[in-house]
Amino acid sequence: MRSISSPPVMRQASSMTGPSGAPAATQPAVPRPIPPRTRHWSALLWIAPAFGMYAVFVLYPMLQSVQYSFYDWDGIGPATPAGLDNWKAIFTQPELLHSVEHAFILIIFYTILPVGLGLIAASFIRELRPGAFSTTARVVLFVPQVLPLVAAGIAWTWMYSSDGLVNQVLRAVGLDRHARAWLGDFTFALPAVGVIGVWVMLGFCTVLLLAGIGKIDPALYEAARLDGAGRISEFFAVTLPGLRRELVVCTTFTMIAALASFDVVQIATQGGPGYQTMVPGVEIYRLTFLQQHVGQASALAVFLAALVLLIIWPIQRLGREK
């Protein structure tokens, strides 16, 4: 890659906006006379390849999912109309309902903890003099985000196993009776999976929040100090309000990862023990490819997509308000 000098980045461009339609026209890039008609339509050619691939491999399958969700289909034989049965099942079958609940519980681990810890880490790193330690901290914390989630799942499955490091540490400090196979434990399996999410997301949040802190006007910190603000009140008065856009991006990204988790759960527990760690992503996979309930899987898939959209949309609006 060529040297990335600071790109002429678009400070004036809006913050990441949700599907509500971005302020595309709020800032006409070039004041120009209305282009001649031919040129105007030829602009579509620039978009055609991108939109074509998107339409064929995303939009069309999404519509198919909606259609499948109203049928009973084993993927091979003829499909029979099922009315709203598949949809009702999401709210009545405990197994499906639990998978959705678990997705929400994972938000605590994928979003709340990483954002909280990321805020702490970022404000600490900011105080450090730029140097080896601050760079190392940033890079080391970010590493888990770069690895395949499959590898995260395998590494932590080993950490949590009977002979793994977690139990080794417990035994070393004399807490032998608390040692267990964490991912097989009905109470602790879900939080254990959640901690993997913390591990993956922490670096991402830290780095992003650190960037945000770097953009806060130093004069604000100086003013706070002149007013006699301590570290804590400085954090709440200057740092936190200055980070709103970064917080929105972190929250959005990590919440999508929580609600739509698949890789880590599939590798670490496959939803077990029982259904203790079942999440919608894994359930969709199982319904379609192991149980051949294509209609039910599709209803859950559309439900999941809608759920993510409904949750993310208000958060994005929050980021755009002045």
């Binding site: 890659m1 004036q12 070039v30 105007h40 691939m53 600490f124 080391v140 992003l208 991006v249 999941l304």
Partner: protein, 274 residues
């Protein structure tokens, strides 16, 4: 320095070190385990008295890594240049050209930003089956191009929105047409934006797990992450070999990140909050 200042510095360093330890410990545990006696079940973190470096060689052949890396490379080469090129063109048009229905098109693309892959995997499977592509690498490449596109367009459009309008005007005065203005002026200036996008897409393709798992049966035609999943299924009980294999598999992602980390973190910092 006051006492409270020292206390604060000590707490700060301790917390940061603890978080860093949390980040690396699973990888360290994998590493020491990978060096243990083959077939044994070592402790979570213990340096073996007699490190078995040969385990990496064994894992290399057991997982058929040559085939796996080759396959991943083909998939990455199929996905990344095409997606970056298409996203750059579309992003440019949406930001700089007066596209009919531009707002509606962009709105539709943004919906895709939040769509979980799982929500599409079922119909994709049957679509690719009817196209006769199931089991081939195209079954991974083509959907991945579509799935990554919303983010790519979003990213590149944000970049081109910030492009200097005076440059376009100047080019026009010189008689450049739309293509020439793009090719000679805006594309070179967008190098940092699209190259960062390329690195992100490399990681997204290389690390992709769900699509290969479902769409391609033969592990040697999958991505590295998909192959790793299969490897876990096969050698899940041989923890030493599994750790050695996993480390080999994550090495390229790690190396790419460490080489580009400066650019990468910078681009992420600037790009993500547009």
């Amino acid at each position: 320095m006051t006492t409270s200042g020292i206390t604060h510095r000590v707490t700060r360093t301790a917390i940061l070190l603890a978080l860093m330890l949390f980040a690396v410990v699973p990888l360290l545990s994998m590493f020491t385990t990978a060096l243990a006696e083959p077939g044994s079940t070592p402790q979570g973190l213990s340096w073996p008295s007699d490190p078995h470096w040969h385990n990496f060689v064994d894992a290399w052949s057991a997982a058929n890594f040559v085939a796996l890396f080759r396959s991943s490379t083909i998939i990455v080469l199929g996905v990344v240049p095409a997606t970056v090129a298409m996203a750059t063109a579309a992003g440019y048009a949406l930001a700089q050209l007066n596209v009919p229905f531009g707002k509606a098109i962009y709105g539709l693309l943004l919906v895709g930003l939040t769509l979980p892959f799982e929500a599409l995997i079922t119909p994709l499977y049957y679509d690719l089956q009817s196209m006769g592509l199931l089991g081939t690498r195209l079954a991974i490449i083509l959907p991945l191009i579509g799935l990554l596109m919303p983010f790519g367009v979003f990213w590149m459009r944000a970049h081109f929105l910030g492009a200097e309008p005076a440059l376009t005007e100047a080019a026009k005065v010189d008689g450049a047409n739309t293509w020439q203005t793009f090719r000679r002026i805006h594309l070179p200036l967008a190098t940092s934006a699209w190259s960062a996008l390329a690195v992100l897409f490399f990681l997204a393709s290389w690390n992709q797990y769900l699509l290969p798992l479902v769409l391609v049966d033969d592990p040697t035609k999958r991505t590295v992450a998909g192959g790793l999943g299969a490897f876990q299924g096969q050698y899940g009980t041989d923890i030493v070999l599994l750790c050695a294999g996993s480390l080999l598999i994550i090495l390229p992602s790690l190396v790419i990140f460490l080489i580009f980390q400066r650019n990468f973190l910078k681009a992420l910092m600037q790009g993500a909050v547009k």
